[in-house]
């Protein structure tokens, strides 16, 4: 049996990985030059405890079901994850009442360890918090994760277990015959399959429409600021303000890599490709975050970015078979807490696949040689964080590539960059290297290491340096060889002179 998954975000890759436990052929199709290139790369990177959503919503259920599974999952996939706990911060009695409601809701959902903290208890956990913060709902099971590394980890593992990933491949239409989806038309030809899973994120409505299923995704933009690691210790937990109807508000949190992150705001936009930041938005994020931590150093920002939430009007997830055509599963409206729900969504889709298999007289057995764990790639910064720098010696003795630091800010060696190029889902762009190694994600933002990473990519992919891109397609870094432009100009001038 053959299955196509459209979209290599965290949901698509999670599904591909879970399906790769079975005897099926899996083809994961992604329009961008790397996995995790849409919403999965630009979000808060948190695993919610699950007290927020109602248990009768699909997103509430998926979130609560997923939360306990992240420890083992991340250990297997070698993804940085930490249960740092979260605090929803209240300022007065009115807030306290709401916090108590949330706690009750969470407890009803089976979430353990929820506590209402008073001011001294908050201060003990967060010394830099706003001096007017009076109460907080503490959720010890909330965590932080690297969302793109989770996606890459899923994808790598799926490929290790036989799945195939096609990048730079855009689905243009579905192949539909006899009321059944038979495959996809793409810019790289047709691909046939017995079941199609639409996990196209922001574009999942567009794919669904190809089968006549009507959904309308309203992208909601969220902007963020990421701070230099020196400010990473400003907070210990994920700090939430009191939430509004559509958003959990502007957060302040540490990242798993030791930076500090603030955001997101929430603005509905029309353009699904609009990942731009705005001056108003960036200001709004600062203002919001300062309500929680007034001492935020504005000069400490090393990058700002925005992500889009793929929200449906009813604000819930939709995971179901197509209403119109056979052999299509639509996964639509996966916004927050989508990342926190990925494991349960993948499980649900596997169950649906089994149902479909049974109904249609296919057979899929469990793969006997499935390997759930990804290998550990050596990362110098792990050794540094664990105070085990001496142990890096052995790694350098085996291969001197690991003794040559390319990215000075994040301490990434040439060996780590070459590993990223050779992983099951290989890095082919500067951004893909960044997401796998952290090279160029530091304070100089590729000022020093950019040219060196470009050279490594060019050497190892055996392509001209002029062909190396930041993120695929037209995002080339270089324009011409030295003297080419000026020689062309001189030739042009002499032609004009001759006339």
């Amino acid at each position: 049996m053959k299955i196509i998954v459209i979209g290599a975000g965290v949901i698509g890759t999670a599904i591909a990985r879970e399906l790769s436990k079975y005897e099926v052929e899996i083809l994961l199709i992604e329009k961008e030059a790397d996995v995790a290139d849409g919403t999965s790369k630009a979000n808060s990177g948190i695993i919610h405890a699950g007290y927020n959503a109602d248990f009768d919503t699909l997103k509430g259920l998926m979130n609560v079901k997923s939360n306990p599974s992240f420890d083992k999952l991340c250990e297997d996939l070698k993804v940085p994850f930490e249960r740092n706990g979260s605090l929803v911060v209240g300022f007065d009695e009115k807030d306290l009442k709401k916090l108590k409601e949330k706690k009750a809701n969470g407890e009803q959902n089976g979430i353990e360890g929820l506590e209402i903290l008073n001011r001294p208890e908050i201060l003990e956990k967060e010394p830099n918090i706003n001096e007017d913060a009076q109460y907080a709902l503490y959720a010890p099971t909330a965590g932080i994760i690297s969302p793109y590394e989770l996606t890459i980890g899923y994808a790598d593992n799926a490929v290790r277990n036989g799945a195939e990933v096609l990048l730079n491949t855009k689905v243009k239409d579905l192949i539909i015959e006899n009321d059944k989806v038979q495959g996809v038309f793409t810019n790289r030809g047709e691909f046939k399959a017995d079941l199609i899973i639409n996990a196209a994120g922001l574009y999942s409505d567009k794919i669904a429409k190809m089968a006549g299923d009507e959904f309308e995704i309203h992208p909601r933009k969220g902007e963020y600021h990421l701070f230099d690691k020196v400010h990473g210790g400003l907070v210990n937990h994920t700090l939430f303000p009191m939430p509004t109807e559509t958003s959990k508000g502007i957060l302040v949190l540490p990242t798993v890599h030791g930076n500090l992150l603030i955001g997101p705001n929430a603005n509905v936009i029309n353009d699904k490709d609009d990942f731009s930041t705005t001056s108003e938005g960036l200001e709004e994020v600062f203002k919001g975050a300062k309500k929680l931590v007034p001492s935020l150093p504005e000069s400490g920002v090393i990058t700002s970015f925005s992500g889009l939430r793929a929200a449906l009007p009813n604000e819930d997830f939709h995971i179901d078979f197509s209403n119109n055509k056979k052999a299509l599963i639509n996964i639509v409206g996966i916004q927050s807490p989508g990342l926190s729900s990925a494991p349960a969504i993948a499980d649900k889709v596997v169950e649906m696949t089994k149902q479909y298999v049974k109904k249609n007289n296919f057979e899929i057995g469990q793969k006997k040689d499935f390997v759930g764990e990804n290998p550990e790639y050596p990362h110098y910064h792990h050794y540094e964080e664990n105070d085990e720098v001496e142990k890096w010696q052995e790694i350098v003795e085996q291969d001197e590539k690991y003794g040559e630091i390319v990215c000075r800010c994040e301490h990434v060696s040439r060996g780590e960059i070459i590993d990223a190029i050779n992983r099951p889902v290989p890095a082919r762009t500067i951004d893909a290297i960044k997401r796998r190694t952290r090279a160029s994600s530091g304070r100089c933002q590729a000022g020093f290491c950019g040219p060196r990473i470009l050279e490594i990519l060019s050497n190892h992919l055996k392509i001209d340096p002029l062909e190396v891109t930041k993120k695929g397609k037209g995002s080339k870094i270089l324009k011409a060889r030295s003297k080419e432009l000026i020689l062309a100009e001189i030739e042009e001038d002499s032609k004009v002179g001759d006339q």
Partner: protein, 425 residues
């Protein structure tokens, strides 16, 4: 753990000069650790001329200037280890470094010279909103691509910031056949050297738009255009002045940040204005035997002064090892006053010995003409020097004569004020 009399971090102009000067003053057992594969720091990619006028009395290119020192290093006993990244330094002067051949190195220095240089500020530091396409890079990165790697990063170029690197790269891009649309400067004056403004922009008809900045960046994959606006005195964009400039490349020359992550790991505090450590007249930091020189201490506009400053540190380190230094009973603070943004050094801590003066480096806050640089103690002038013109982009230096500094002085103020007694009207 291998011990050295001196460990220099960085083999740029500051590191090279400090090590050489220490050896000239009798120090042995010196090592320089350099992260790049070649030494010379940023100089090898600065292929334009204009270096060395102050130090050598002749005009050299960056590589030529570097080779003056590299040749001396070859003739010296100083050990140089390239492709060696210092990953940590602590306050006991113990260094952890990583080298391709040797792996993890642990070294200890009786003295350490911090000479890590600086890095360029990024788009993110100045928070220009918009898309995040390729084609946006710092002027120094573009310089590396063009002069070392042999590639042009773009054809239609806008440059933000009129610092020296921005000006030099405007000319370099034009000479390579690019269409340099404009150099934008948020301040009402260029922050680069005057000679660079003339030779790099005026001579090539490249417009310099003062009090202009970029308010938005557009382009999905590669940069397509930038929105440019005039700014008022508070740097807010003036409504109605916005225009789009089509370009595929944006070079940023928006300031340099001393690269002091290692200094911080030693527990050294940074000066809020210079971004470097606090130092005394020997360029010694608050940890005895640890020195800082060059752009890691404060950003210089001339490499000549980097060399000179590093020699001060190198000699002092040698004197320190040879027990030739004597501390003053009380420190003298050097404080910036009218129209002086900062001074280096910030204190005088040792007796002068055979030293005849302390050279004080400073920057002005605002451009001014017909001024004097005045040292004073308790409102009484110690000495003053006339200057025709001072600009924020050009560092000012003045010598404080040893003979005029008295032991009882606690603070010496430095100000730059209009010359008195002269009527220009």
């Amino acid at each position: 753990m291998q011990e050295y009399n001196m460990i220099v971090i960085g083999a740029g102009p500051a590191g090279m000069a400090a090590a050489l000067e220490a050896e000239k003053n009798g120090m042995e057992n010196i090592i320089i650790l350099e992260r790049d594969e070649y030494i010379g720091g940023i100089l090898p990619q600065c292929i334009h001329n204009g270096f060395g006028l102050e130090y050598f009395g002749e005009e050299l290119t960056g590589p030529e200037y570097a080779y003056e020192f590299i040749d001396q290093l070859d003739d010296s006993k100083i050990e140089v280890l390239t492709e060696t990244m210092v990953l940590d330094v602590n306050d006991k002067k113990e260094i952890t470094a990583l080298n391709k051949q040797k792996g993890v190195l642990k070294l200890k220095g009786k003295t350490i010279v911090l000479a890590m240089g600086c890095r360029e500020r990024t788009r993110e530091n100045i928070r220009i909103p918009g898309d995040r396409p390729s084609g946006i890079l710092s002027a120094g990165t573009a310089q590396r691509y063009t002069n070392i790697e042999g590639y042009m990063p773009g054809e239609k170029v806008v440059i933000l910031g009129s610092g020296d690197i921005g000006l030099i790269m405007a000319r370099r891009m034009r000479l390579e056949g690019a269409d340099v649309k404009a150099v934008l400067e948020i301040m009402p004056f260029s922050s680069g050297l005057v000679r660079n403004k003339v030779q790099c922009l005026d001579d090539f008809d490249i417009p310099l738009k003062l009090q202009h900045t970029i308010t938005r960046i557009e382009g999905d994959d590669r940069l397509k255009r930038v929105k440019v606006a005039q700014v008022d005195e508070d740097f807010n964009s003036v409504e109605g002045t916005e225009e789009w400039i089509e370009c595929d490349t944006l070079l940023l020359s928006v300031g340099l940040i001393p690269e002091n992550e290692l200094s911080k790991s030693m527990g050294l505090n940074l000066h809020p204005v210079t971004g470097g450590t606090f130092v005394n007249e020997n360029r010694e930091t608050n940890i005895e035997g640890v020195y800082a020189a060059g752009n890691v201490l404060h950003v210089h506009d001339l490499v000549d002064w980097v060399s000179e400053e590093a020699e001060i540190a190198g000699k002092a380190a040698a004197d320190y090892i040879n027990n030739k230094l004597e501390k003053r009973e009380q420190k003298i603070k050097i404080t910036p006053d009218k129209n002086v943004t900062y001074t280096v050094p910030q204190t005088i801590e040792y007796t002068f010995g055979d030293k005849r003066f302390v050279k004080v480096f400073m920057r002005v806050t605002e451009p001014m003409e017909d001024v004097e640089v005045k040292f004073s103690n308790n409102d009484k002038e110690i000495i003053s020097y006339p200057k025709k013109i001072v600009m924020p982009g050009e560092m000012v230096t003045a010598n404080l004569p040893a003979a005029l500094v008295k032991d009882e002085m606690e603070e010496i103020k430095v100000s730059i004020v209009k010359k008195v007694g002269e009527n220009n009207g």
